[in-house]
């Protein structure tokens, strides 16, 4: 008797189809050895919104009874493998409805595996991943986060690579042959994706993580009230008005202490305060009231509140004043204005490093020009070690123009 449970932590909407495909792949691969399984998403993180952290699950077991034994709950309380398909989720997962911040490896069993797609080193990722009171393995597939949209799926083989990696991690449940067979059946017999799975199997890097390693910060928690402690009439206290910053100057709005929502962010605004013309547009247009007004009349995006939508950058009329930078370039939520006020030359250097790196300012999601999809697919597949000989799936890139 044995069973195997996986969760896929993903970005709502952008990776919805990816997560569902991974979980289906796990069950269909395990089925090759006669096992039973279920792939499901729970509605807890819905309504899914762009970028909000969400989860899908896959459970496989030797018998139907054992499968039911592990399914008879809302969602698994522990998983053998946590699969994380966007490395900015290493900072933690905050559900849309007041759970507090959950470390990415919260459900991973002791000596289980956290499997991530990332271009970062394990050491760099462990600055984000919270400490766990049990050892586990951190396994990495070298790939950037695969983002698409509500109705579409990015054909960059991420799901095949994940399945190939799982064959390495849990060979007793998912043999590489079974995984490749299941992939081929789903792809009308094409060998292309199965070879991506094999490459991932060969290349998977893994390292043990000790209990002393990881981000030492205690994630903020939230205790849910009893029914008689809750206000009646489906009412909650409104967020009170804010306060001046210091010395009666500036303005800091009060924010929801139970739902900070910053784990939704895949990019953050970086502000060049020397270029700010104090026009107030970012402050007014921000849909999350995330800007603090500083005593000197500047606008400082509060990183506990910003969900990275990019509206501030879009409305800012000053050239190069606000630049969206990928979240993996940052290790904390420190105030940029405080850094700038303390050490202006130091801040200028820091800022320059962040916005000059092409890697960091490339958009994490969405497409800006015709042919971008095909261009990215080519890069992504090369990254995965697959040589394309029979054309790229999807539309013909040659006929598109920049």
């Amino acid at each position: 008797m044995a069973h195997f449970t996986c969760e896929v932590v993903y970005r709502g909407i952008f990776q919805k189809n990816l997560a569902a495909r991974i979980c289906r792949g796990i069950v269909l691969s395990a089925r090759k050895a006669g096992r039973w399984g279920i792939a499901f998403g729970r509605y807890g993180d819905s309504p899914q919104r762009n970028g909000i952290p969400a989860k899908d699950f896959a459970i496989v077991a030797d018998t139907v009874e054992e499968l039911e034994q592990n399914m008879a709950r809302y969602e698994p309380k522990e998983v053998d493998v946590t699969i994380c398909v966007d490395d900015t989720l290493a900072k933690g997962v905050e559900s849309w409805a007041w759970y507090g911040l959950q470390p990415i490896s919260r459900l991973t069993v002791p000596n289980g595996t956290l499997l991530m797609t990332s271009l970062q080193t394990p050491e760099h990722l462990l600055k984000d991943i919270h400490k766990k009171d049990a050892p586990y393995n951190l396994a990495l597939i070298s790939a950037k986060a695969s983002f698409s949209g509500l109705w579409v799926y990015k054909e960059d083989h991420t799901e095949a690579r994940i399945l190939g990696a799982l064959a390495k991690i849990q060979p007793s449940f998912l043999s590489l042959d079974a995984v490749c067979q299941a992939i081929q059946e789903a792809e009308w017999g094409s060998e292309l994706k199965a070879s991506s799975a094999r490459k991932a199997f060969e290349r998977l890097s893994s390292r043990p993580v000790k209990i002393t390693e990881g981000n030492p910060e205690t994630p903020y928690a939230f205790e849910m009230p009893k029914w008689w402690e809750m206000r009646e009439g489906v009412t909650i206290p409104a967020i009170p008005v804010g306060k001046p910053m210091e010395g009666g100057k500036g303005y800091v709005p009060e924010r929801n202490p139970y739902f900070k929502k910053y784990t939704t962010r895949t990019m953050r605004p970086v502000i060049d305060f020397d270029k700010c013309v104090k026009c107030t547009l970012c402050w007014i247009q921000c849909p999350d009231t995330c800007f603090d007004v500083t005593p000197d009349g500047l606008y400082d995006a509060n990183m506990e509140s910003c969900c990275g939508c990019g509206v501030c950058e879009a409305v800012c009329p000053a050239k190069d004043c606000i630049t969206m930078v990928r979240e993996d370039a940052f290790d904390d939520n420190a105030s940029q204005w405080e850094m700038w006020a303390k050490d202006k030359p130091g801040y200028t250097t820091w800022l320059g490093n962040k916005i000059k790196s092409k890697e960091h300012v490339v958009r994490s999601h969405g497409f800006r020009f015709r042919g971008q999809y095909e261009e990215e697919i080519k890069q992504d597949l090369e990254q995965g070690g697959i040589e394309i000989t029979a054309g790229i799936p999807g539309e013909n890139a040659g006929s598109k123009q920049r």
Partner: protein, 412 residues
């Protein structure tokens, strides 16, 4: 602007009440004026529209100062008063039949938001066929949602119950909406002698509506009705259930106070008992159906048949123990539903199955017969009453319940 008064000033009686010849709907409007209503919304559908006309007249005549909002449909009609109530207004609304159905979404959100809205449902058959006659299915549709439901029988009872409904619904322990059901035509359109109390008496009985900590106001900043996931919903339902549970005490208190202030009103708020003390057979039915039953019972008593009537008033909250106790002495019970519940246990109407459920744990469970009668406003004849009673006597002597529900007054 000159106000044309169509009704001559009524004469005051010795008790300080004034006596008026008014319909059930007009009696409701009299109570609303006495309760100093703040906001009322209207959208016409028969037979409820008689109330909105009566209120409009009161406002036009200067007898009531209230916001009168004509909505573009029942959905908006109920939404408007819901919001008015959250900012502290005493509100009234109403509808009938499919109009009530069109407001369904608003009817479901009112109890969890703890809005003490008082409504009048002029009971009317649901379409199709388009019809105007009485059936109770319209109001019964909300029976599981946290609405308090009461059926009244006379214009006097309508006036008194409207005042009671505000007192009960607006009690901070309850804060639930209350729908008063009035049989279309038989009550809404029939004028009878009604004692209308003085405003001074009503003020003594009915305190101002105080929404307290749930008041939507800049001085009390709250968010009402945020989205919630599975970690919150069952707690909110539990709160609703507790409020409905507390309504039992509040209803008892309110009726006791009503009797003290007005010198009338039933001692038993829950149901009316007519000749039940020594009854072998107890018949039951809600609303104006009591009239042919009371007459039929008197005729049968004259021939030595011991029959009595229980007319339930409060359907939600349902007086489980008290009802079961009142039925303990009977040798057979006949429940007459002016509603249907197709495919239900025994094909019975809604009330019959509620009574069955209430009796399940009772010490004695007399045979219970269920009848469906008077649908779509069909006349309930004395022959129907005799037939129901005769079948009950047969069951009383055999000790067995015929399980099949009988339809009375159908052409066959």
């Amino acid at each position: 602007m000159a106000v044309v008064t169509t009704t001559p000033p009524p004469a005051a009686t010795a008790s300080g009440d004034t006596e008026l010849l008014i319909s059930g709907s007009e009696a409701c409007a009299e109570a609303l004026a006495l309760a100093d209503l703040d906001v009322v919304t209207a959208y016409p559908i028969r037979p409820y529209d008689t109330v909105m006309q009566a209120i409009a007249k009161k406002i036009a005549n200067g007898q009531l100062v209230a916001e009168y909002i004509v909505a573009e449909g029942e959905h908006s009609q109920f939404e408007v008063v819901k919001h008015a109530s959250t900012v502290g207004a005493r509100v009234f609304c109403g509808s009938s039949g499919v109009g009530w159905m069109y407001a369904m979404e608003c009817l479901t959100v009112t109890p969890p938001l703890r809005v003490p809205m008082v409504c009048m449902v002029g009971n009317r058959a649901l379409d199709d066929p388009g019809a105007f006659g009485v059936e109770h299915n319209d109001a019964l549709v909300v029976r599981d949602l946290g609405w308090m439901l009461i059926w009244v029988d006379t214009a006097q009872e309508m006036l008194d119950t409207t005042l009671l409904a505000y007192r009960i619904a607006e009690d901070r322990r309850v804060f639930l909406p209350c729908a008063i059901s009035a049989d279309g035509a038989f009550l809404t359109h029939s004028q009878a002698i009604v004692q209308v109390p003085s405003r001074a008496k009503v003020d003594k009985f009915l305190p101002r509506y105080d929404r307290g900590d749930l008041l939507l106001h800049p001085d009390n900043p709250i968010t009402v009705a945020p989205q919630a996931n599975e970690d919150w919903v069952i707690e909110i339902r539990r709160q609703n259930n507790e409020a409905m549970g507390r309504a039992y005490t509040v209803i008892e208190e309110a009726y006791a106070d009503f009797r003290k202030v007005f010198g009338r009103g039933p001692e038993n708020p829950w149901f009316e008992e007519y000749m039940t003390e020594d009854a072998d057979v107890i018949l039951m039915g809600m609303g104006t159906i009591s009239l042919p039953f009371k007459v039929g019972i008197r005729n049968m008593r004259a021939k030595g048949k011991k029959v009595g009537l229980i007319r339930p008033r409060w359907f939600r909250p349902f007086p489980t123990e008290r009802m079961a106790a009142a039925l303990q002495g009977a040798k057979a019970i006949g429940v007459i539903d002016r509603d249907y519940s197709f495919g239900s246990p025994f094909g019975s109407g809604v009330v019959a199955n509620e009574i069955r459920a209430a009796m399940y744990n009772a010490e004695k469970r007399p045979p219970l017969l269920s009848f469906i009668c008077g649908l779509g406003g069909r006349e309930v004849t004395l022959e129907d009453v005799y037939k129901a009673a005769d079948l009950c006597f047969e069951a009383a002597s055999s000790g067995k319940s015929p399980l099949k529900t009988q339809w009375l007054g159908v052409r066959e």
